[in-house]
């Protein structure tokens, strides 16, 4: 069993996203784990975050403005792995920073830092050779996104070569938008479940424990990002307290569905 599969085997899981290098990342990640996060998604900042709304865009700029480098991100990941040997850690970001030194280099760094999986927003299955083979060869999960526009004809291509879990994006849009109606999410998740045994985590627009509890009833995971990132933006160095509190409320809601 991998760290990811054992996390999801415990029942509905809370997946928490923050941007690397925005505030005190080690302390913020610690707060997420203390609050009860089951999986950590660490965002790799990029100058041009095309799929992100204002909250995560600003976090990217704060992080880059503070001088965060790719080497720093892997140090943060390695330090996290040393402190929290059991908690799965996934990197999420854009193609260019991941592939600029070559996919093999990136995959090797992931292995060295104890990163369990990678989500790349702008490498669809059609461009899989850019990153997929290197990650699979290194035993790092390639977590793909499925969206409301991923119809039945396309779903097999998305699932082919995916591992770890499937990230279902609940709305056609960018991060931080309004959540889709729960009925639509239910219908789409049930449809996808018929085609895969991978755990399905639902994200984009989930902000409150109430929303998280509803989604936990129909999916294997709930992803929360912008709401946490906004706390980092608001509280800066003092973010760990508020992050822990929100994560705890979300985790209670998600785990309550177990």
């Amino acid at each position: 069993m991998t760290r990811l599969s054992s996390a999801f085997s415990r029942g509905p899981s809370l997946v928490c996203f923050i941007t690397a290098g925005d505030g005190d990342t080690a302390a913020n990640l610690g707060a997420l784990v203390e609050g009860g996060a089951d999986v950590i998604e660490l965002g790799m900042p990029f100058t041009d975050p095309m799929a992100d709304g204002p909250a995560i865009q600003k976090a990217n700029l704060r992080s880059l403005g503070a001088g965060t480098t790719t080497a720093d991100i892997f140090s943060m990941a390695a330090a996290f792995r040393a402190r929290h040997p059991q908690v799965p850690l996934v990197l999420m970001g854009y193609a260019n920073p991941m592939t600029i030194r070559g996919a093999d280099w990136f995959a090797a760094q992931c292995v060295k830092a104890g990163v369990d999986g990678v989500i790349c927003v702008d490498i669809p299955p059609e461009e899989d050779p850019e990153l997929g083979p290197a990650l699979r060869g290194a035993g790092v999960a390639l977590i793909r996104l499925a969206t409301p526009t991923t119809d039945a004809a396309r779903l097999p291509a998305v699932l082919d070569g995916s591992s770890g879990f499937l990230y279902y994006v609940s709305v056609a849009g960018i991060t931080g938008m309004q959540q889709a109606a729960i009925g639509t999410i239910d219908a789409n998740v049930s449809r996808i479940k018929q085609s895969t045994d991978l755990p399905i985590a639902v994200g984009f627009g989930v902000r409150t424990p109430e929303q998280a509890a509803e989604i936990a009833k129909l999916a294997d995971g709930v992803v929360v990002g912008s709401a946490l990132v906004e706390l980092v933006g608001e509280h800066g160095k003092a973010a760990p307290g508020p992050l822990r509190d929100l994560t705890k409320a979300l985790a209670d809601a998600v785990h309550g569905a177990r």
């Binding site: 480098t69 920073p97 600029i100 702008d122 850019e130 526009t149 056609a172 849009g173």
Partner: protein
């Protein structure tokens, strides 16, 4: 040149790749739409009615064919090759951008889309998009960096007169790259009813191909006009490059003519050792805005801010077909600084009575360097892809003149 293919004109491959460049690096939400656009484009290309409507609008609405003009006083000034201009600055809306907008809005209508979005830097593509939207009665939203909104007020007003909504983009550096990010964000959120009219030969496949095809009217006309007027093909083609649409439009129909050399001119801004917009000269291959291509970036793959006096060239990337043409050696690329472009701008005003845009002023500056080294019976054809009305404020400021 290693491995010379027997034609340079059959790119991209079926996956949208020009060698290692191009492709479809977009979020999953957009992928089905991008595939659908490709299918629809194939159908349109095979449909004589589509081609007929495109040709008709280019003739009667845009004013094509644009003239091919021999520039006698500029030729005498340089003292070498004959200098000819393809006069795309005479098009409706004052630049080549409209050729592509006509093609794309016809595609949008075929696909049943009811809302148009676009990005713009200098505002030329924004004006051309707003124009075709007014012509076809579709709502139009233009994303423009807040910095560009401030420095291109006349074009902002033009777009508004044409009925477009102009949204200033305040993220990032507030220029063209950020406007493109914001247009992509709009597109993912409105995939069902919205068509994104991309303004240059870049973005996810099939955009680089279809923009090139629509702009190829420039090169097709130039080739026929040159043969008719001189009985032969030009020795050298020259065009400025922002994303590369006017250049690929001129070059593509000549790619298989082995005796025709081609020169693409990037913006060297303050100089290649300072801030500039020359992605081939100063960048490395990477992935941005849906395609793999040469990009200005740091060693971690963070995209750099470009600089050019010409807002239309102020972009840290380039269309993927140019990256490929550079790598295989079929086209040569050079760069020209802000100051050189400003001098060429003034030179053309005074020698030929034509006020060029700052973008083609870069091509003219490159012609100024090569023409004197070529024999008098040789022929250069440069793309005069835009007129300078939009730039007189910028130029006045640089010349220290208050207007």
């Amino acid at each position: 040149m290693n491995d010379i293919p027997n034609t340079f004109r059959n790119q991209p491959d079926e996956r949208g790749h020009f060698g290692q460049f191009g492709g479809r690096y977009v979020a999953e939400t957009l992928m089905p739409l991008v595939l659908e656009l490709e299918k629809e484009y194939r159908r349109a290309k095979a449909d004589p009615a589509f081609q007929a409507e495109f040709d008709d609008l280019l003739e009667h609405y845009v004013g094509r064919p644009s003239p091919l003009y021999f520039a006698p006083r500029l030729t005498a000034e340089f003292g070498g090759a004959q200098v000819w201009f393809k006069r795309d600055e005479l098009n409706h809306t004052g630049a080549h951008k409209i050729n592509n907008c006509i093609g794309q809005i016809l595609l949008a209508i075929r696909m049943g889309k009811t809302r148009i979005i676009a990005e713009t830097g200098a505002g030329q593509h924004g004006v051309a998009t707003a124009t075709v939207c007014a012509r076809f009665g579709l709502p139009c939203v233009i994303y423009m960096g807040a910095t560009d909104v401030a420095r291109q007020q006349p074009n902002v007003f033009r777009m508004k007169l044409l009925g477009a909504e102009v949204i200033p983009v305040t993220s990032g550096a507030k220029t063209l790259k950020d406007a493109m990010n914001e247009a992509l964000r709009d597109w993912v959120a409105n995939v069902h009813d919205t068509f994104y009219i991309i303004g240059t030969a870049a973005g996810p496949h099939p955009y680089p191909e279809l923009v090139r095809d629509f702009q190829s009217v420039i090169g097709k006309e130039a080739r026929a006009q040159m043969l008719e007027r001189t009985g032969r093909l030009p020795d050298l083609l020259v065009a400025a490059i922002g994303g590369g649409s006017n250049a690929i439009g001129l070059f593509h129909p000549f790619l298989d003519d082995p005796d025709v050399r081609m020169l693409g001119v990037e913006a060297a801004g303050h100089g290649l050792d300072k801030q500039h917009a020359a992605s081939l000269a100063g960048g490395r291959p990477g992935i941005l805005h849906g395609n793999k291509t040469y990009l200005l970036q740091d060693e971690d793959g963070q995209i750099a801010e470009a600089h050019s006096i010409s807002a239309g060239l102020d972009y840290p990337g380039i269309g993927p077909e140019h990256s490929w043409l550079k790598e295989i050696g079929r086209v040569e690329y050079t760069s020209v600084t802000d100051d050189e472009a400003l001098s060429a701008f003034q030179l053309l005003c005074r020698t030929e009575g034509i006020i060029p845009a700052l973008e083609p002023s870069h091509a003219i500056a490159a012609v100024a360097k090569v023409a004197p080294t070529m024999p008098k019976d040789s022929i250069i054809c440069a793309n005069l892809c835009g007129r300078g009305d939009k730039d007189i404020f910028t130029v006045a400021e640089h010349l220290g003149v208050a207007i």
